[in-house]
Symmetry: C2
Subunit: 135 residues, 2 copies
């Protein structure tokens, strides 16, 4: 324990809900760069931990690392417009909608095949037949 307010990589990770490995990675790609103590240990200030928590939440919402980088810079920019943020979020949302639609289509097709397959000890299998069909 030291009486400055910084914490080690493990403590910062615990505070942000991220593994220490991830924090080192985030430093490497320039997202959150902590100070260093005399012994070489990373020293995360409260503001760093705050950024990490921000990142953790943005990542949980599915934003890419590059989106997160942008969101962080918007967060720090007092002259930002909320329209920029909303636009980023909307694009991300559209991408998610697209992904969901794709997965639902896959799932429907897969469900059809599964229903058609009796699933017993015999080798006859509509799933394999469909995969192998020459169309």
């Amino acid at each position: 324990m030291r009486d400055d307010a910084t914490v080690t990589v493990g403590e910062a990770g615990d505070a942000a809900g991220l593994p220490a490995k991830t924090l080192r990675y985030y430093e490497q790609i320039g997202l959150v760069i902590p100070d260093r103590r005399g012994n070489g240990y990373r020293a995360y200030r409260p503001s760093d931990v705050h950024r990490l928590r921000f990142l953790k939440r943005a990542r949980s919402l599915g934003f890419s690392i590059e989106d997160c980088r942008l969101l962080l810079s918007l967060y720090r920019d007092p002259d930002r417009s909320s329209a920029e943020v909303k636009s980023l979020a909307t694009q991300h949302c559209d991408a998610i909608d697209l992904k969901i639609a794709e997965l639902r289509s896959l799932r429907a097709e897969l469900g059809r095949l599964i229903d058609a397959c009796h699933g017993d000890h015999r080798p006859d299998c509509p799933i394999l037949d469909e995969l192998a069909s020459r169309d």
Copy 2:
């Protein structure tokens, strides 16, 4: 054009709907290993092309490469039981259902944030506020 029935990597790719690069990759990981002509060119037999089409379809259904490897071996095994195939497909389907559920939850949360953000020139932004909140 040669009078044996084999085709080059480009032709096989066209026939299967896959890029030649992918065919080389599939050879590298042992999925479909073509013969070679005297000049070193890959020589895909009709059965190879058939396997490639099988792979293309299975991949389009979202099966992983390792699942595909397994599906191919089941396809070739006359003693397989359709239950094995159905089980694999069902597991994959469950994984897709899970993914869809996750994405829908994300999407709902994002939608809420987007709706709350007025999206104009002002910097006030509920999206960033939420990301930054200390809970």
